[in-house]
């Protein structure tokens, strides 16, 4: 959801500054450790220069569910062993990150933004402390609305 869009002109350079609130579902796989699916709601600030290059910053809360990467056993007091098929944990999360990209709609009539973003995700309470993990995100954003607008202009 975009909630602000404005043009700023400091000195001679112009750029768009866009602020969004976005919902994202992500997943990573760490062999022998866990798989993690997480849902985040992020506040995102993106600046797009007139030559198409962009930079962005995002931060937001989320929730995560891990799935352990291996058979998980439980042993009861009688010594009976059983398998927990849904082994894993729910964690609260905060993510923050920044990155850069290129908006092809600024120079050519292609409604696509390519970007790369370095995120730091933190999960808690992980063993009564905070787990952090750096994540590199590569993305392509296609805007159907922008595509329509570009078609109308031509």
């Amino acid at each position: 959801m975009k909630y602000m869009d404005l043009i700023v002109k400091p000195s001679l350079k112009s750029f768009y500054k866009k602020r969004y609130i976005s919902g994202t579902i992500s997943w990573y796989h760490h062999p022998q450790f866990h798989d993690n699916i997480y849902l985040t709601i992020e506040w995102l600030l993106r600046r797009i220069r007139s030559d198409g290059f962009s930079s962005e910053f995002s931060i937001g809360p989320g929730v995560s569910r891990t799935f352990l990467a291996g058979t998980t056993y439980e042993v009861n007091d009688n010594g009976t062993v059983s398998i927990d098929h849904k082994a894993g944990y729910y964690y609260a999360m905060i993510t923050a990150g920044g990155g850069f990209g290129y908006d092809f709609s600024m120079k050519k009539k292609i409604p696509v933004l390519m970007y790369t973003r370095f995120n730091m995700i933190t999960m808690f309470p992980y063993n009564s402390t905070i787990y952090f993990r750096p994540v590199l995100e590569l993305g392509i954003k296609y805007s159907p609305r922008k595509a329509k607008a570009l078609v109308k202009k031509t």
Binding site: I37, F67, L68, T71, T72, Y73, A87
Partner: protein, 345 residues
């Protein structure tokens, strides 16, 4: 569409929990044992077909088993038996939620017992199982084998630079730092560093607080690096070198270590002492010690060796090792352990 993808992914992840048990000369199985708020990672690597298993109880608390899984041990020990690398709760790749209240010695003994029960469930009740305790792992092992059911579950114990008595440990560390310091000052190039240690030992003479105990350990770690004949190792480098092959979760290893190092658990450990109950130990025991181990000095090993009642016991001292004989004198370690398990399995 997104929801459908999510459901497919969840079904796929649930199916990842399929049980695989490998009986071969080159097994590598990872599984988890869940107990009291913690899911503890266990890696079984090596010759599971031999039916001989060595369960490593790593140091710490809060260190991990990753550091012990070297290529030398893989080539020279895991060909004869299977090594079981267990990450204790709040350590290494072990995971959980808000579980700090369970971090105490009794719980760790219960964890160990359950890990053994799962091993026997997976690989057979008649397996030959040995415990290998290093440093803090030596305390867990000492607690376990002095309990009634402990010795009946294993064939023998390997105690490598382990601590079974923390108050005595601190006294012996101080004494060794002081004596070695005084003899090293005239001949060592590290005079200033030794003098600092000597000063500290002269000012802190006994009834050590937890801070003093931790400071003595820090000096102990540094002191062995001042001795020329001790083989230098880089523990952090060892973990980093194997990051890709071992698929190590580095940040988990780090946050678990930091949490456990600062936890209240250390207050309980500071007064833990099993010297008085070691007479109950009758199973075969192999003690391996570094001559220059300041953290758990040789005299601590001798206290352990002299107090157990085992008829089959042996103590070997490595002249090139400090506190990490397993990594500093890998040949001696593998030769002695191979001979020990071959004899008593």
């Amino acid at each position: 569409m997104r929801i459908a993808s999510l459901i497919i992914l969840l079904l796929f992840l649930s199916s990842c929990q399929k049980e695989t048990i490998t009986i071969s000369e080159k097994a590598s199985d990872v599984f988890y044992v869940e107990n009291a708020g913690a899911s503890m990672r266990v890696l079984v690597e090596g010759n599971t077909a031999s039916n001989t298993f060595i369960l490593l109880i790593h140091g710490g608390p809060g260190a991990s088993s990753y550091v012990y899984n070297t290529s030398y041990i893989s080539r020279n020990l895991e060909n004869n038996c299977a090594m079981v690398y267990w990450d204790q709760r709040n350590a290494g790749a072990s995971q959980g939620g808000s579980n700090g209240t369970y971090l105490h010695l009794d719980q760790m003994i219960d964890d160990l017992k359950k890990v053994i029960e799962v091993l026997k469930y997976r690989y057979g009740q008649n397996m030959s199982l040995f415990l290998l305790g290093h440093s803090f792992g030596g305390l867990v092992a000492a607690d376990f084998i002095t309990r009634p059911e402990g010795q009946s579950m294993i064939k023998g114990l390997i105690n490598a630079d382990g601590s079974h008595n923390y108050p005595l440990n601190d006294t012996l560390t101080r004494q060794m730092l002081l004596n070695t310091g005084l003899s090293e000052v005239p001949k060592s190039k590290k005079t200033a560093k030794w003098e600092k240690i000597i000063q500290y030992c002269l000012q802190h003479t006994g009834n050590f607080s937890i801070e003093e105990s931790q400071q003595l350990e820090t000096y102990g770690m540094k002191a062995e690096t001042y001795i020329k004949s001790v083989k230098k190792i880089n523990l952090v480098g060892t973990v980093l070198d194997h990051t890709i092959t071992d698929k190590s979760p580095l940040t988990s290893i780090l946050v678990n270590l930091l949490y456990s190092e600062d936890s209240n658990f250390n207050k309980e450990l500071a007064v833990s002492n099993f010297s008085g109950s070691l007479y109950k130990v009758t199973i075969p025991v192999l003690c391996l010690w570094g001559k220059y181990d300041f953290i758990c000095p040789v005299e601590l090993g001798e206290d352990f060796y002299n107090k157990i009642s085992s008829a089959d016991k042996k103590m070997v001292i490595s002249p090139i090792s400090g506190h990490n004989l397993i990594l500093q004198d890998e040949k001696l370690f593998c030769d002695e352990v191979n001979a020990f398990v071959l004899k008593y399995r």
